[in-house]
């Protein structure tokens, strides 16, 4: 007995899920905007303390991994499943490099005392403490999405290797790609808000 599938329905379902993600991060962006409005000078001072080089590098890494996933979907559409697997491996590897950079960045922040509740934050201006609280919540929630995305991409890798994802049956890979691209878009907005305030 064949199982009924509906690719259009699956794709629309995925987009509806992405809208809930947009609202989740959107709410936090609103919080950022409201506090920026109130503590603009503190935010600008705190924003110049974040790691611009690592932030920029991570932006390039995530954009390139998004390209790799889009190319992987395109390769699969053209029945080049080996190329699709290589590109997926590349994307997952870039995701891991992104997280490693995040680890370096947060280690530095913790060493200096840029975390909520540290002596530096308690004694410093209130806006600075709020900026770093938002920084950890937003970049942390984003990093969690990167980890989940890497897990989904790894699942797609295995299913492609097992021929369970093929050019005729590739909605899972398509939807995994959509999730990864949304994670990329969220970072595109996080980057100027936390790294480019100087």
């Amino acid at each position: 007995m064949s199982v009924h599938t509906d690719d259009t329905g699956s794709r629309i379902g995925m987009w509806i899920f992405l809208y809930t993600e947009i609202m989740l991060f959107g709410g936090l962006f609103i919080l950022y905007a409201a506090y920026y409005h109130r503590y603009a000078q503190d935010f600008i001072a705190a924003g110049s303390e974040t790691e611009l080089v690592l932030g920029t590098l991570n932006t390039a890494i995530l954009l390139t991994s998004s390209f790799a996933v889009a190319a992987s979907v395109e390769a699969m559409r053209r029945k080049a499943s080996s190329l699709a697997i290589i590109l997926l491996c590349f994307a997952v590897m870039l995701g891991a490099v992104f997280l490693f950079n995040k680890y370096l960045e947060w280690s530095r922040d913790f060493a200096i005392g840029y975390y909520p509740g540290s002596d530096l934050m308690v004694d410093g201006p209130k806006g600075q403490s709020i900026f770093f609280a938002l920084y950890f919540v937003l970049t942390g929630l984003h990093a969690l999405h990167v980890i989940i995305g890497m897990g989904i991409l790894c699942a797609c890798l295995i299913l492609t290797a097992k021929k369970r994802i093929t050019s005729e049956k590739m909605i899972l890979l398509d939807n995994a790609g959509l999730f990864w691209h949304l994670v990329d878009i969220i970072w595109i907005f996080l980057f100027p808000l936390f790294y480019l305030l100087h």
Binding site: I22, F67, A70, E74, F191, P192
Partner: protein
């Protein structure tokens, strides 16, 4: 010529052009942040971010090639988010 045959000559070209543009826009936004643009600085950074997000949506996510339901519902989501932001700023600005 069919669409698939036409696309076969340069299947990855739009993706390659998009990533090149995205990396250039990243370099541009980082360079602009070094200049003293005053209030324009955050507006310029967010405008470039919006252009980058649009590129990802159009080229990587192929939002325009998935029928009408997805682009319309996506725009509706963004409008709803803009309404939320708008009302919150009415509250903050005139409190």
């Amino acid at each position: 010529m069919t669409e698939s045959a036409k696309g076969y000559a340069h299947p990855y070209r739009p993706l390659a052009l998009a990533i090149a543009a995205l990396l250039c826009l990243t370099a541009l936004t980082v360079s602009l942040s070094r200049f003293d643009l005053g209030a324009l600085k955050i507006a310029a950074a967010l405008t470039i971010a919006a252009v980058k997000a649009t590129l990802v949506l159009l080229v990587f996510m192929r939002i325009g090639k998935t029928g009408k339901a997805v682009p319309i519902s996506f725009i509706a989501t963004i409008i709803i988010l803009a309404i939320f932001i708008g009302f919150i700023f009415f509250d903050i600005a005139y409190r």
